[in-house]
Symmetry: C2
């Protein structure tokens, strides 16, 4: 997806998403992956007053505002992953994603575990990264789920943005046998406040590198989808990619605007890795991995 | 390193290693990384009788056979990592590596945790992978250690071959603050028994991909060194590489023979990752990683 500006009307964004869904369906897609926080701008870049902040959250999913996407997907018998800001009836806030089946059933739900950014705004900076302020940490871990018959009943897992850089998250899913990982992201293309530490090309490389390597090391397909381009004056990388269980990118977005890429994901391609190199039961040595759960920070 | 044939004399192999050490020192290297099982052929490809098998093991390190390498390194004030087959006084066998300081002191020792292959030979096949038969699993985990003053006192970790494909191994070191990971490998370039599942190019890609991604995700330098070429009639991939903490390869071997690649590894380049994206204390969520230690195989 290209960018969503802060002043964009929700119905216009939804219309673009429906157009993308239709294009994907016309190209044979059975499952469409949208980005993180797909319905809105990436609002954690702003220090917002409570009233505006709440406008970015969905109190139910689906709800009247997003229903046309659900309806069109069902008509086309296409499922989808979409990321959104979730407000629970109890008033909790999460950075969430769902995967919806071709009949409109919600097959799985995920709440982002690895929130980047800070609670307090960085002083003197125009652009913030306030995910730790606006969202609570997902506390349901990494629950794998099963896709539908029409997709070949893949064992699936969801991640959101920063999660994809954490090998623990992928492994927690791989230990549940995942064959298809889907994830959306909004990742800065550069420091919008003027820092120059990492180029856009390097950031895009990082994004694709972690999708490729974690797909390979976990013998799974991976679909990683950007919201890209200049949003609210801040650049987001593109680099959406579909990666096979060898870690090889089989389809890749060319630009930073709305664009559809499609690939046929043969689930049997996961077997080579799962039965040989990454036959976990035969080769893992968990007694030596204790630090991973016994420590948070580095010594 | 190029291949060591089964019939090669140990002193000839050692002479090649000393020549490589001297060339590296002449190019300014302070630390030289040799491959896994550098002093011999990759003997786990053969089902061997006990007498021949024991000839591949070192009962002490150093010992008279390898002493000339230690002596020359000390003269040149160059340290080195080297992989070898270890037999303990108690008769245990390990696939081991050591890192030796410029004064000849052994700074760290590592016993391979992730042994690939099988205990029993695969029937009807000429070439085997019998690491699980010939070696015991290393049970000391992943102990980081400190490099010398002349190297900038890097926090270091060692891996051996197959270990580098396991993100848990890298993370166990990263949680000890490693800035420089060194590892040697002998990785098949193709199935020597005639299978065609993975091309040499794909296997080399895998090898470099895991070095790049794990260097990035752990904000560390990584040096991964092949024994390459056709050894005993079985092909080994090359692709030795030096990777920076951005996961970018800064030096890469061109061929499959004896060859020196050199890079200047600025340890401060690890700080960007360690203090921001991969600030573990700020961002890790170990309560959701339990499966990594509670399960061995996949559900």
């Amino acid at each position: 997806m290209g960018p969503n500006q802060r002043q964009d009307r929700r119905e216009d964004i939804l219309a673009r998403m429906i157009a993308l869904l239709e294009q994907a369906a016309a190209e044979g897609a059975q499952l469409v992956v949208f980005p993180e926080l797909a319905f809105t701008t990436f609002f954690p870049r702003w220090l917002l007053d409570e009233d505006e902040l709440e406008t970015y959250f969905e109190a139910e999913m689906p709800n009247p505002m997003v229903q046309p996407l659900f309806d069109r997907a069902r008509e086309l018998s296409v499922g989808f992953y979409v990321g959104y800001a979730e407000r629970t009836p109890e008033g909790q806030h999460f950075n969430s994603a769902i995967t919806v089946g071709p009949d409109g059933t919600i097959l799985g739900k995920y709440r982002k575990v690895h929130l980047p950014g800070s609670v307090e705004p960085r002083e003197g900076e125009t652009y913030q990264q306030l995910e730790k302020r606006y969202f609570e940490y997902g506390e349901d871990g990494f629950p794998a789920f099963e896709g539908v018959e029409a997709w070949g009943k893949p064992r699936m897992g969801m991640l959101i943005c920063n999660d994809r850089r954490w090998p623990e998250a992928w492994r927690a899913y791989a230990l549940q046998g995942v064959e298809l990982m889907v994830m959306g992201y909004n990742s800065a293309a550069y420091d919008p406040n003027g820092g120059t530490t990492e180029s856009e090309a390097l950031r895009t490389y990082h994004s694709q590198l972690v999708a490729q390597a974690n797909a390979y090391m976990n013998a799974t397909w991976a679909v990683a989808v950007a919201k890209a381009g200049v949003e609210d004056g801040a650049g987001l990388i593109g680099g959406s990619c579909i990666v096979d269980p060898n870690g090889v990118t089989v389809a890749e977005a060319k630009g930073l605007g709305d664009e559809v890429i499609v690939a046929d994901c043969d689930l049997d391609a996961t077997l080579q890795g799962k039965t040989k190199m990454f036959n976990f039961a035969a080769h893992r040595r968990p007694q030596h991995y204790r630090r991973i759960v016994d420590q948070t920070g580095s010594l």
